[in-house]
Structure formats: C-alpha cells, structure tokens
Subunit: 295 residues, 2 copies
C-alpha cells in the first residue's frame, strides 16, 4: 500500500489542502438531523462526509465531540470514520491521545491497528509524556502505512503557557519538532514528505516558518483557518513550492465549512447538502488560489 | 455533596493510600475470564472491583486498554466504572484527555458531566495545550464535586524529554504545577486538600519534594509503585503528616496487585479472588506501614 504521506500529498495536489473537521457541537447540529444525540451527530457527520466527496481530500472527525455521548458516541464516531474510508477520503482522527509504555499500545491498536473498529489513516497524539510514548503509534504507522500527527504548536491562546516557553532560547514546540526527527525519517514516503505530521497552529507566519525549519519533511496539520480566524495566506506560511502550487500538509476548517449560515436553517436535506458543498468548495478554492498566488 | 478531595482523603485515612489500577493488558487477562476481548476485559475489571471493596479507597481504570476494542471496549469501561461507583469506590478514570476551547467540553461532559455514561469521580488530563484548555474539566468538577488530575511529572523514562526541561532554571513540570495554583484553590475542600490533583511520578524524592513545594494543597496521584519499581517510601516522598499518618494523595499500583503471580493460573474464581485480595491487602499494608514509620 502507498504510504500515508504519499497518499495525502497526491490527494491534496488534486483537490487542494482543505481538511474538513467533523465537529458535532451539540448546539450546532442542524434541526434537520433531529435533537442533539449520538445518533444525530453520526447522521450529520455522515452527511458532511457525502458533501466532502470529490471536494476535499481529507476529513478530521473530532473524538471529543462524539465521546460526549460515551460508548454510543463512539459507535457514531466509528460509523463516521467507516463511511469516510468507504468514500475514499483520508481520515485523520483528532483524538489527541497519549500514554506511557505498553498502555499507549492500547490507543495505537484501537485506532491504527489492523482490527480497529474505528478505521482511520492517522491519529493526533500528545507529546507531553515524551518521545518514547509515541513509539507504539509510529510502529503501527510504519507497519500499516498510516500517519501520526503530533501536537507541536496549537492555535489556542493557552498554547503560550507551555508550548511557547523558551528552553535554551527556543520555544518548547521547536524542541518537540526537533526531537521527532528520527520518527519523521521513518515515516518518509517517496514524495519526500513524512507521515509523521505536526500540528502547526496558524497563529502567525513566524511560528510556522520556525516549525518548518525544525521539521523540513513533516507534513503539517494547520488548524485555525476559518472560524478560528487565520486567513489562507497565514495558514500556508509553512508551505513550500510543489508541482501543483504550494504544498506541505492540510489546512483544517470545521464549522465554517460544515456549519455555514446557509446550512443552519436549511428546510431539507437537499438545501443543506447544497449549502455545505458550496462552503467546502469556496474554502478549497480560496486555499488553492492562495497556494498558486504565492507560488 | 462532599467535595472530591474531602471524600478521597477521608477514604484513604480509613483504608490507606493505595489506588488499584484496572489495566486489562490483553496478554495478561487470566484464562479464567476467557480469551482477551472487550467482554473478558470488562468481566475481569469488575472482578477486580469486587476484590477492592473494603481494601482500597480508589480504583483507576485505564481507558487506553479498553479503547483498544473500540466502542465495545468503551461499553466494558462504562460497566467497570458503574460497578466501582455502585460499590462505593472512588473512580479516577485514567484517560489523559485534553483539547482546546469548546472541544474540551466534549470530554469534560462525557466523563464528568451529569449525564455521563462512564461515571467517574475524577479524570486525568494533559496540560500541554495550556491552562485554559483544562477549564471545562475544572468547571464541571466545581459544579459536581469531582476531581481533575493533571499530568505534571510522569514516571516513564521519556518524561525527561520535555517535562524535565529547564525553563528559567526550573523544570517544565514545576511550571505546570505553579500555573495551576488558581485551579487548585478553586477545588480546595474542608480538609485543606484540593481535588485539582497532580500526577507526580514516583521517580525520585527530589522531584516529589519539588512538586509538593510548588503545589502544597494539591492531592497527588503517584504512579510507578509496584511493577514500575518505586518502593513505598519513595512513593510517599511528597506526603505530609496527617491525622492517620502521612497523607497527600493516592499511590497507584496495577499489575502487581491486580495480576499477582498467584492469580495468573488460578483454577477458579475463588482462588483468583483470594490471590488478588491478598495482593491488594499486602500492598495496602506495606504503604500504611511506611506512612506510619515515617510519620
């Protein structure tokens, strides 16, 4: 099987860098799908998947917003991931997992394993406990052509508390990126890009350039575009020239594309689908235009 | 309802500081419970709960080792947590969750919320994304008399990678502990102890004393006792004098008490129960003796 990085890069070269977040905030699930429950979250998520097909390369279901409903939410999440895989989308599960030693094997097997009931191509993980704690994820990613997305610099205000703290003159997130070098190498594909990805919040072009310098081959997952405020050019500050314009990862947007104003009060499924499809197309077009303009 | 910290302190004064980890490593579930599946993990976990009653104040189910089996594993975890609550045990769910903004609400509601299908008294969380990302957990803990256990210093070798890095002359984990001061204050009970707990790995007495100095009122969850190698005295390095000997948190042990050699090949449930009960009693007695000896 083609490695994760090569699959992701090929798909973004074709469709653009947008990664659609599947974030079923309970107060935001349109009435059309019923009152907010695990079931309506799952149905809404699968409807968003349908609207992504042919319009976006990747989706990013948010585990927290399914786990709100416990095991019923997990069943809905599994259905959403399975639907996305069936539709040929690349699934980055945003679960921010992590634990020590053989305990982390549980998470790695549960999501990246051969018998996972929650099929995904990559999972987000938290590096706070150290590099060795990421090994179970990277091992399975190597074995099964999957990706591992490590939190480096997140896009929230609190990211300054610890991630931005200076250690020997450089922020912690740069130390994280550097320490990942051997793992980045292990998951490197034929495209030259690595499936050991970094979360690189679109908080400012300097941070992005710093992270790119520390991890040249890592694909980045850039959150913060759209509802969180970053423009397309800021979001692509870490991207570099590729055969189809700037490239270097995916840029995620959630409510701005999956919950646009026009979809909120859609009277029927058709109107909803049209509104969401258009929002995805518009965001993708904006990103692709920015990628070509700066190229 | 009595606050989480006061409940935990009262229970440990009565029974001792041992917290029994419920870690169903698939290769270690005794044959007696059947081949390793979500179902046998759940049955084994509930049997361990039975053995804890009257012998330990708290249990710590490990989410990763249930999530290995996806939503079926989550159902088993929910059953284990419900059984522990029904038995009057204090449940610290070891899930190491965390996310930004309103996304973290999903995890907080899912585990600490009023309608949680996975009832627990406290949950472990990861501080890497910053203090504000812990707010949803602390808010619900305040509201519903729950606890929040923040990773500060873990007991694994990789904890040196980032947690031990010096920032302005002090390790990151001390900065984490200090930054939590307002949250520690908010969850402080009548006992003077706070239900904003810290994971304080039993890696060495100096680390423990440093953490205690940085967070005087926080109860600590000390992992690393038993199978991970720390002795009872090291594990209690951060404890201080209380009415029933040293106190200041719980000390967790997993396989050394829930999977003792004598239980591995038990022929029947009765022999298994006896072996596990004795291991729990022995660990608890060792800790209580150490707490009194140093008092």
């Amino acid at each position: 099987m083609t490695g994760f990085a090569d699959r992701l890069v090929a798909a973004t070269r074709k469709l653009g860098p947008l990664c659609v977040g599947i974030d079923p905030h309970p107060s935001m699930i349109p009435e059309l799908f019923g009152p907010p429950t695990a079931r309506s979250a799952g149905e809404w998520g699968r409807a968003v998947i349908d609207a992504c097909v042919g319009r976006a390369a990747a989706v990013k279901p948010q585990a927290a917003l399914f786990e709100r409903w416990g095991s019923r939410g997990m069943i809905a999440l599994e259905e959403v991931c399975a639907a996305a895989k069936d539709a040929g989308l690349i699934v980055i599960l945003d679960a921010k997992r992590g634990d020590i030693g053989t305990t982390a094997d549980g998470y790695a097997e549960g999501y990246l394993g051969l018998h996972s009931s929650c099929p995904c191509d990559a999972i987000t993980v938290n590096p706070y406990m150290g590099i060795e704690t990421l090994e179970p994820f990277v091992s399975l990613a190597e074995k099964y052509s999957k990706g591992v997305v490590v939190l480096a610099r997140t896009s929230n205000p609190g990211s300054k508390d610890f991630q931005a703290k200076l250690i020997d003159g450089e922020p912690l997130y740069v130390h994280v990126a550097r320490a990942l070098a051997p793992m980045i190498k292990r998951l490197k594909g034929e495209s030259g890009w690595s499936g050991l990805m970094l979360v690189a919040g679109a908080t400012g072009p300097e941070d992005a350039e710093r992270l790119r310098a520390a991890a040249e081959d890592a694909l980045f997952l850039v959150p913060g575009y759209g509802a969180q405020g970053a423009g397309p050019s800021d979001a692509m500050a870490s991207f570099v020239k590729g055969p189809a314009g700037l490239e270097g990862g995916v840029i995620s947007a959630s409510r701005s594309v999956s919950m646009p104003d026009a979809a909120k009060n859609a009277r029927d499924g058709e109107a909803w689908y049209l509104a969401v499809s258009r929002a995805i197309e518009a965001a993708q077009a904006e990103l692709v235009a920015a990628a070509r303009a700066r190229d």
